[in-house]
């Protein structure tokens, strides 16, 4: 058990709703929508236009610039349009719309076995890049960029993040239960890139079956270790993960690679395995559909581009009318006015809630100090909110406002229900926008 502690919160996790539901494969019925921006960085550049025929595994948009990612078709069919569509981020994003011919014709070489030990580092990185893999934990940072630090030899930890600390989400958990070999396989591929690194898989102690499963598979692998983490939100945050497993501290100016760490989510590592060892690009996502408004919470394996409306239908629809729909977890996810949006590489869940707990009025701060007591980055959120509301941006920065990771702990614990995280995040964005 990792000993190092960070502040944070213990929270109702709601995982019982879907944690025992095996991953069910769903086939799409309607059109598929591929937003050109479903990763951090620049939107991809489309390679197809209206009327073109595409195949499963075909690159339909390519990375534009160093921080961007390819987009791969998950079905075969005809390009119906390239137009702006609503995405789960709440923005209208230029998207490729494909009409599915339901034949699933694949590109040549799709699914071919490859021996990664015979591949050079460049070939492995190229395979990851071609497959369009990005951080599937939600941030969507292009993985090939992450896997190319300045100096490979300085990396001594490859950390696989299996914390899944957001309430309700169980897709990573199911992946660890059902397809652990992909995770271990992917980790071995990553370790082949960094000869001085050892692989650590961090899993919260509320997932004992997953821990046992991966430990069994990791037996005999002397470079791989499964570490048990205490269940606490935000254990899966990059800075908390690196700290609890290595004791190294990151601030907002540093990347994990600066302290010798590469951190990838379990789903990302599994995607690397498929891309490198099975020549299968990233076309499918494991998605949890849950929340107290969903009739039958489930875990699905679905193609990227499929509408969430079809997923909700497959989960039995709503048993009572939800007040709020959230993509991602309840702590850091995005609320949307509609759920007719496509599954993308960064949306691992849809949650429907009967009651919107956040719809409460702010009242006066009583200075209880809980926001500070629970802030994993040791900030003073109420002070930052006051400074932000007074538009005192200079003091906001001096009080480490830019360090905020937006985890939401302060807003969660605040008895006066103040919108602390929300104000701080917005102010941070304002300051960042001014810097550029």
């Amino acid at each position: 058990m990792a000993k190092l502690r960070f502040k944070g919160i213990h929270i109702y996790d709601g995982k019982n709703l879907s944690k025992d539901k095996p991953i069910t494969v769903l086939l799409p019925k309607g059109d598929l929508v591929f937003p050109l921006l479903q990763h951090a960085g620049k939107p991809a550049r489309p390679l197809v236009s209206k009327g073109d025929q595409v195949l499963v595994g075909q690159k339909i948009a390519e990375a534009d610039g160093p921080v961007s990612a390819n987009i791969i078709s998950s079905v075969s069919g005809t390009v119906k349009a390239v137009e702006k569509r609503l995405t789960a981020t709440g923005r209208m994003v230029e998207s490729i719309v494909i009409s599915n011919d339901n034949e699933y014709k694949k590109t040549e070489g799709y699914g071919q076995e490859r021996d990664y030990t015979k591949m050079s580092k460049e070939e492995i990185r190229e395979a990851v890049k071609e497959a369009g893999i990005v951080g599937l934990g939600g941030a969507g940072f292009p993985t090939h960029v992450k896997l190319s630090p300045k100096n490979d030899e300085k990396i001594d930890y490859v950390i696989v993040n299996g914390a899944e600390c957001e309430p309700y989400l169980t897709s990573d958990y199911r992946l660890m239960l059902e397809e652990p070999e992909k995770i271990i396989g992917g980790l071995k591929i990553l370790l082949s890139l960094f000869k001085n690194a050892k692989g650590v898989i961090g899993i919260e102690d509320n997932k004992p079956e997953a821990i046992e499963n991966l430990r069994k598979l990791a037996e005999g692998e002397n470079k791989i270790e499964v570490k048990v983490l205490k269940t606490k939100y935000p254990q899966g945050g990059e800075r908390q993960m690196v700290y609890t497993l290595t004791g190294r501290k990151l601030n907002s100016d540093k990347l994990p690679a600066d302290v010798g760490c590469i951190v990838c989510n379990v789903a990302t590592v599994a995607a690397v395995y498929l891309a490198v060892a099975k020549s299968t690009p990233l076309t499918h996502m494991t998605v949890t559909v849950s929340g107290d408004a969903i009739a039958e919470p489930q875990n699905f394996r679905v193609p990227v581009g499929m509408s969430f409306a079809e997923l909700v239908e497959a989960a039995g629809g709503f048993k009572s009318e939800p007040e709020k729909i959230v993509f991602g977890g309840p702590m850091m996810g995005t609320a949307m006015h509609s759920y007719d949006v496509p599954v993308t590489k960064t949306t691992s869940s849809l949650l429907g809630f009967v009651k919107d707990e956040a719809a409460v009025a702010e009242s006066a701060c009583i200075r209880c100090g809980k926001c500070h007591e629970h802030c994993p980055l040791n900030l003073m959120p109420i002070r930052l909110q006051m400074l932000a509301l007074n538009n005192n941006l200079e003091m906001f920065e001096k009080n480490y406002g830019m360090e905020c990771c937006g985890c939401g702990c302060c807003s969660y614990v605040c008895p006066a229900k103040r919108s602390l995280t929300q104000t701080i995040t917005k102010t941070k964005q304002q300051i960042l926008a001014k810097r550029h």
């Binding site: 929270i11 959230v326 309840p330």
Partner: protein, 331 residues
Amino acid sequence: MSGLYNVSAAPHTRSPITTKTIMQDVIIALIPACLFGIFNFGLRALIVILATVLTCAVTEYVYCRLMKKPVNPWDYSDVVTGLILALNLPVSIPIWMAVLGGVFAILIVKMLYGGLGQNVMNPALAARGFLMISFPTRMASFALEKISSPGLKDYLRDGALVLDGVSGATPLGQLKAGETVDLLKLFIGHVGGTIGETGTLFLLLGAAYLVYRKIISLRIPLSYILSFAVFALIFGGKGFDSNYLLGQILGGGLILGAFFMATDYVTSPATPKGQIIYGIFLGIMTGIFRIIGSGVEGVTYAILLGNLLVPMIDNLTRPVAFGRERAKNGK
């Protein structure tokens, strides 16, 4: 799909703890001390408690109405102020004085400074200080026994007239005069004092509840009591005399003050380091007032003085962000 769903920035979930539930917990924690006060000093104690609580609630409501401010959903913070004020008054206090104290606490100390969360001093304590300065003799005449009186009319009359118990020295007065005190009596509260300060056992019960519910941490109370004990040990002139030390700790308003008033969120530091500094400051000030000064009590003024330093303590103990420690200490 029907209609639009709620949209707001993350997080989308909130803890069930609200300002109101916190105030409820504080009220629950004060109940044992209140009940003991009533048991110990008679029904008149109940009348004092009701008078201050009612006054506080009405004052806040009327103020909001007159000033055309929104009357917020009732968060019970006024009830807490009323209760704490009552616990800080002698049972023999005339009711009009208790009412005056309640109005002072809410109107002058709390609302005129901006209402909940904005007051500089603890309202109940400031009101106690105000009454102590205005009516020093009435605030210092303590009943040792139950006030018994035949009719309801007599209860409402000036308390001093119906005092048939012995109005005598408090434990701190005895200690100051060089006498020893009965520690067991101190612990179960069978001594002179204000309505709420004598029942140590019952105060600690309530305090334990607050700690269990994580409403307060032990940082302020412990650093306060310990630093006061050390001060008494050094400057008390008795050396390590357990009767004297325990008498000092249990005999006055220290337990009530340390657990229920010094821990008031609004008027105490919000950083853990600041809370310990604050507690130590209170301990030393209480020691100076009680042992070096001419008075017998010091908790009220020590805490009020401490309240004024809170913004400064908070500023001096500003936390350094995770991962930024070296940047600050290295230079």
